[in-house]
Symmetry: C2
Subunit: 344 residues, 2 copies
């Protein structure tokens, strides 16, 4: 009884109230310019008076396209992805689109289920941070007419658009500065598993910087850790100190860097006086760390925003089939704080 009367007001109700036909109501909504001003006003008045709210499901069904885009991320709790979501949500918003958020929990089974849902929803597009390199299941979605763009983990982009951040450049920037800061000292890299593309990229960037400087690759001492946590950072440094005393450390994420600094400090070394440290990611913690962390900042929000921009562009192009897929890659930037001061 309390909500049995809901959605009593459809376009027909408006039409009657305004004394026009159903079609005219639809027209004043979708193509107001072809409706005479007088009628339009009348209709609009009726709509507000009766509190009309269009039914997207019906419109979508008829129109064959809806105003939803899917967004699949591995872990919404990770600030990197949260920022991407923020950017995507803002841009979607701006265009009147909604975002269907899926947290794949880095689990292929979940991801699959979610892609299935997005398929049933017939979202106009989908932004995906894919878990595995197996993009076959994405094909299914695409067949349904869902435009999709891969984010961040774009390895093996067979076809379609993608948006990502240049991690090789990030590694290079960090290492370049480290080389310049220490000239001659020992460089160490604390990295996550090389099997993770990002880690591999950052590593390659480091190597490239070395090469640029005419240095031998062996000048870089590498420590690979399982999980990229503060704890691992500490352990890596502990292990490292038994071998060498570096003058510069590049940690491939901020947690590792923080752990490294902590252990360094514990060992009586001071940062940046004795050893210069650069992290990666520019998390909030980097800024307020005991020793404010110099780090590689990534345009995360911008990445999310760009991704939906690309999707919308692709969607709009559905008629004139002249859309060219493209890969958009953003550049990271080194932000200077205390752990690795700017050179002058």
């Amino acid at each position: 009884m309390t909500d049995r009367n809901r959605q009593a007001v459809g376009q027909v109700a408006i039409a009657q109230a305004a004394g026009v036909s159903l079609a005219t109501v639809s027209n004043t909504i979708n193509r107001p310019e072809i409706v005479a001003e007088a009628t339009r006003k009348k209709v609009q008045a009726a709509m507000t008076r009766l509190n009309f709210v269009p039914n997207e499901a019906a419109a979508s069904l008829r129109r064959g396209a809806n105003r939803l885009v899917g967004l699949v991320v591995p872990d919404i709790t990770n600030p990197f992805y949260a920022a991407i979501v923020e950017g995507a949500a803002a841009e979607a918003d701006r265009h009147g689109y909604g975002i269907v958020l899926c947290n794949s929990q880095d689990d292929p089974a979940h991801e699959l289920k979610q892609l299935k849902l997005l398929g049933e929803l017939r979202t106009a597009g989908a932004l995906i941070v894919p878990i595995t390199a197996d993009h076959s299941r994405l094909a299914r979605l695409r067949e349904l007419g869902t435009r999709l763009i891969l984010i961040d983990r774009t390895a093996a982009v067979q076809e379609g658009c993608s948006a990502s951040i240049d991690d090789v450049l990030g590694g290079r920037l960090a290492t370049q500065h480290l080389i310049a800061s220490t000239n001659g000292g020992d460089l160490v890299l604390i990295n996550g598993p090389r099997s993770i593309p990002q880690c591999d990229d950052r590593h390659r960037g480091a190597l490239a910087a070395l090469a640029d400087a005419g240095m031998d690759a062996e000048r870089l001492h590498e420590f690979e850790v399982e999980d990229m946590t503060v704890r691992s950072g500490r352990q890596a440094v502990k292990k490292m100190l038994s071998t060498i005393t570096p003058t510069a450390i590049f940690a491939t994420n901020d947690q590792l860097a923080l752990g490294a600094i902590k252990e360094l400090t514990t060992a009586g070394l001071s940062v940046p006086e004795d050893v210069v440290v650069i992290g990666y990611g520019d998390l909030a913690i980097a800024e307020n760390a005991p020793v404010p962390l110099s780090t590689i900042e990534q345009p995360k929000v911008e990445l999310g925003r760009a991704a939906v921009e690309m999707i919308l562009a692709e969607i709009r192009d559905k008629d004139h089939n002249e859309h060219r897929h493209s890969a958009r890659v953003f550049q990271p930037r080194l932000v200077f704080r205390e752990s690795a001061p700017r050179l002058n």
Copy 2:
């Protein structure tokens, strides 16, 4: 040409392929138990063979209800809300529901626009962390049949369900422990603007703890800061030190606490030896801080999960109208780390 043929396969196609009627296809999807096993098998085979993907828009339209729930948060980038989203997404997932995420950016205009979208989408329900106390616009949504539940900022819950965390209890827990830890020393509270309900609640909890201990309210020295940042925490402590030297500090969020500790340390005071500090929120930074922070932990993920549980329960009840609205409030917990060790 590349996607002109999409969704050629509807239930009719399946029906033909399986040699049954449209209705039977629909039935094997929605009420498989009433279909003879043989026919069911046949139909299912056809569905997988033809790669059938049901069209939710059509189903929703016909059925008058969809499998979407809206979720409006002020800032997805805030770990507190990110955790709520995580919980909500997981639970929605489990039930085959999708989440339409809206980032209101703490801006009423955005929120309004988003509520409008959710209305047009006719989401089955909506979870909202409302920006203002003005819940009138929520009424509009509810009139559309959207069940809604308020999260966290539940002040003035007029009607409907809500899920929140007991901040008064949080304040009380922290303060109780502080009192016990210092017996007799000066207590200080570093709080955000009292106009924020959460801050007010935590403050009231502190007062309650004082009262419990038979202490006068004046024993609590309060410092109110504008924004709850690390910087503000430092400033508050600096200001404080010119007046008193406390033995215990309760900061109403972790950032403030971290700032406080930093300033304390700078001033030559050590934590927890000279002054015991408790934060609030249990952010990731709390655990890995220079002095690991004791803090009030909130069951954020659980909150998100519970919220969609409640929504789904309310939705299922649409027929037998016996749903009773309820407010579910979770209890926070004091987690002990170094800045305020457990007493024994």
